[in-house]
Subunit: 539 residues, 2 copies
């Protein structure tokens, strides 16, 4: 039957068959707000009516600067199903970046938390196309001085809770998210209804992390970044409950309490947040008894985290890999039928892989000359992907800027190995790779090794210029509080753990590592600072 693949079908499905499933949002450190999918979608209809009353036109970009909560979910559906484009903005970006992407996207309205109003006020002189702002989670204008300022709840209050949703084509744009590259301006990844829906279905498959109607999901990744990895679509499609941490995602006390109190079965986050949670539970004596499944991604995850999850909390943590340009998830690593055949050490190392691609995604690795490399688990190459969920263009960019070659392959910027069964292991970012005498050295593998040292809290390995080998690895490390280790002992730690010629040439201890707006270690900053260290030291 000729029906379009739209996010509206997810909404209709959830409303008809999972309407009473609960949606819980933390509104303070102690309190939650409860509603259901029916409640969310009823208010999404009011929101759509309000957007029409505000004069929004089909295809208009509507921005959000918001945490993970019910109102943001209402915006997801009210804007996307209303035929507009939901532009989620990362509030942790620098002022100039936020101003740039608001102007570049030509956002018409910005829905914002009260705490981001000072930022927007600062940027007001730079912001061009915005008609006004709508303030979430408050009863007044929170001091905003824009031409038009509305209070979200007041805006909805006057609206009818019925509407006729438009029927956009499945290939029409419905959402966008800017990636903040380490160089140049951020680029706006544009999602179509079709790509988001197929991503939702492909990631609802069991071994792609597919939750079920009996799950209660806590998205511990922000809705302002790659749609919280698709969970705001996946959870309603399968009928799982949702527990939103609100502005408390980084507060392990609140998160830990919510998991137990709301019987969360399924959690998704980045290594740092999981680590903070386990540290808190270790101290407080809490547990994760309700958790059935946990997923980690977004950054390299140390083996110790998987072991703590399994050994101390009885939860299997599964690693995934994805990108903004892939609608989020690219792979997930769950033990398949061959797991039983592995030896003990292989099983221990297993979680460090990123797993097999989701349905609809093809992968390959290539050398610098774009020649395909074998799937032998050894050869490392530039990871390229193509498929149903790969976005083929950036907003307002030319085809040449898309990063997609003539055969449809998108260059991820990651370096990986691929096992014979298609399981990938990301060994580095292409730009972080160390090319020593023409051979590649993985900075991530060296960092993982450094971080297994009991005295090391955080470590980064960068490529430093070298007279003889052109580039050599340089280790920059942060010691744990009250722990000590000498440079020599730390370097000796690598002996027997990595190839002899991979061993870093030197160690620099620092108080803390620089991080990007999205929380990743900024190797660009480190390279600027220490890129000539080996030359200067004459190592």
């Amino acid at each position: 039957m000729d029906m379009p693949l739209t996010i509206t079908t997810v909404m209709r499905h959830a409303e008809m068959y999972h309407g009473e499933r609960e949606v819980v949002s933390a509104v303070s450190e102690q309190d939650v707000r409860r509603t259901s999918y029916s409640g969310v979608f009823r208010r999404a209809r009011k929101l759509f009516n309000a957007l029409q009353a505000l004069g929004c036109q089909p295809g208009d970009r509507i921005a959000t600067l918001a945490w993970n909560h019910q109102q943001h979910l209402e915006l997801y559906y009210g804007v996307i199903c209303g035929g507009y484009v939901l532009h989620t903005i990362n509030p942790r970006l620098f002022d100039d970046q936020i101003a740039y992407i608001i102007n570049h996207a030509e956002d018409k309205w910005i829905f914002t938390e009260p705490e981001f109003i000072p930022t927007l006020e600062r940027l007001k002189p730079q912001i061009k196309h915005v008609n006004g702002i709508v303030v979430l989670d408050t009863d007044d204008d929170a001091g905003a001085s824009f031409r038009n300022v509305h209070v979200y709840e007041h805006l909805l209050a006057g609206q009818d809770d019925t509407c006729a949703w438009p029927e956009p084509g499945e290939n029409s744009a419905c959402a966008m998210c800017y990636t903040s590259g380490t160089t140049g301006n951020p680029k706006g990844v544009l999602y179509s209804h079709r790509s988001l829906l197929l991503h939702t279905l492909s990631t609802a498959v069991l071994d792609a992390g597919g939750p079920g109607a009996n799950d209660v999901i806590m998205p511990l990744v922000p809705m302002f970044h790659v749609n919280a990895w698709g969970l705001p679509f996946r959870a309603p499609l399968v009928g799982a409950g949702i527990v939103f941490p609100g502005r408390y995602m980084g507060n392990p006390q609140v998160v830990g309490r919510l998991i137990t109190q709301e019987k969360v079965t399924y959690g998704v986050s980045v290594p740092t947040i999981w680590q903070m949670l386990l540290d808190h539970l270790d101290r407080s004596g809490g547990n994760l008894d309700t958790l059935r499944k946990a997923v980690v991604g977004g950054a390299a995850t140390p083996l110790s985290l998987f072991e703590r999850f399994r050994d101390d909390y009885g939860v299997e943590l599964a690693q995934g890999w994805g990108m903004t340009e892939l609608c989020s998830a690219g792979t997930l690593n769950v033990p398949g039928p061959d797991f039983e055949l592995l030896d003990e050490e292989q099983r221990r190392q297993y979680p460090l892989k990123q797993g097999k691609p989701i349905f609809g995604l093809e992968v390959k690795i290539t050398d610098d000359g774009d020649n395909a490399l074998p799937w032998d688990g050894v050869a490392a190459g530039h990871l390229k992907v193509k498929g149903l969920t790969v976005c083929e263009s950036y907003f307002g960019a030319t085809e040449a800027e898309s990063g997609v070659d003539a055969n449809g392959w998108f260059t991820t910027g990651d370096v990986a190995t691929i096992d014979p069964d298609g399981t990938i292991q990301v060994t580095d970012r292409s730009k972080d790779l160390i090319k020593s005498g023409g051979e590649w050295i993985s900075s991530i593998e060296l960092e993982n090794c450094a971080m297994t040292h009991p005295a090391i809290a955080e470590a980064a390995v960068i490529s430093a210029a070298h007279e003889k080998w052109t580039e050599r690895p340089l280790l920059i490390a942060v010691k744990k509080p009250d722990q000590t280790v000498s440079r020599e002992d730390l370097l000796a730690w690598f002996d027997g753990k990595v190839a002899r010629w991979w061993k870093p040439d030197a160690v620099i201890f620092v108080e803390e590592l620089p991080h990007t707006a999205t929380g990743k270690v900024s190797k660009l900053t480190l390279r600027e600072q220490y890129g000539d260290y080996l030359l200067a030291q004459n190592v």
Copy 2:
């Protein structure tokens, strides 16, 4: 990215990421043949090359008269991904029906088991467009006298195992299956790549029965009927192993042994086959210890079957509902989060429902005047559906014959109630409904009640003409061997179990009930025979 939704993507996905997963086929009562998805697809490429060599043109219909086994799976992919249309024929149809659908579909080649050659030879004078036949599972022509007779294995032997698969549009037809209506000629339901792929994804969702890579699936429903409910696509997509019962689907000894020997975790079948299997296991003392999930559908399932599965074999049997016109699955009934809230009796009756629709399928019930009825679990109406997996036309039929109304709703011919959460329970076929004094009586509910009587083996309730009430229910029953019950006592069995005015007006005991070619009780035959019984008896 603009990539079509084709079954070819399933093949590519399975070959890349689950290539070594095993495909097992029973070749005799004792022996199996083993290969892998890679092996199947390698031979599918040879098959495609062979079909091209035979002169097949894009869109040609290629028919199969075949059991569930590896070669049939090769045909599924070689034909479908080759750009042809796979026409699976039910060998249990009557001669005239088989001849009709071969001619109607204009099949070019027929791939057949040796045992169906006598049938084809009989029909040869009637068959019009067929170029020749290809004999599976044999080394010679098995006595066939068609103009062109090939042996499948010989045909493949000479072919290259590489090929360039065509890239048909996602809306192009790729498979067809005729439904044998009780009146008129069979109608050919045409499947597009897109509808089959979306059905595969929607049924790979956990609560739609979604298996995983660690499952080993046994399809105990024929590949010649509604694509074995989609399992030949679903299993490779998720990377599950397959165990095909070959020609032994109706042999519970072979099936039971295969389940244990091959560690089958996931089985799908109709009530009769499951019942035969449990009867055999009861007698032989076998078990279903490896089975993790079992699905039943295709006919009304007595409560006792669910109880035997749970109590005697520790397996939760889940009921589904579907149709040829829906690519197969429409609903599946698995306990959701509200199951805990039910009382004991509600839980006991729970498996009798057919469950919630899969993603992409909308349902409604209407009265005779096409007015929507409430979802209250009480009102019973004509079940209508629309959605991504509903086929909108029959092969060679006009739009008016499609059964789809102007708003896109397809009339299923079933009568159902819908719970507030969208769970459906089929209470009857529209044409089997008894309209007594304008009120509806469900024949299925009366049959279920009759079959709970310890002396009754099988029962059918038909609508019989009645002077005062126009129609009244008439019970036709088969007693178990060596069991006895009087007409009066059997009627008294309904007291307190159904509404007083639903109680059948009379009972007829027969030696056996008539069945259709697909194994269902032929109520049409019963109505022809006994429709005037009440008038004649003056009951």
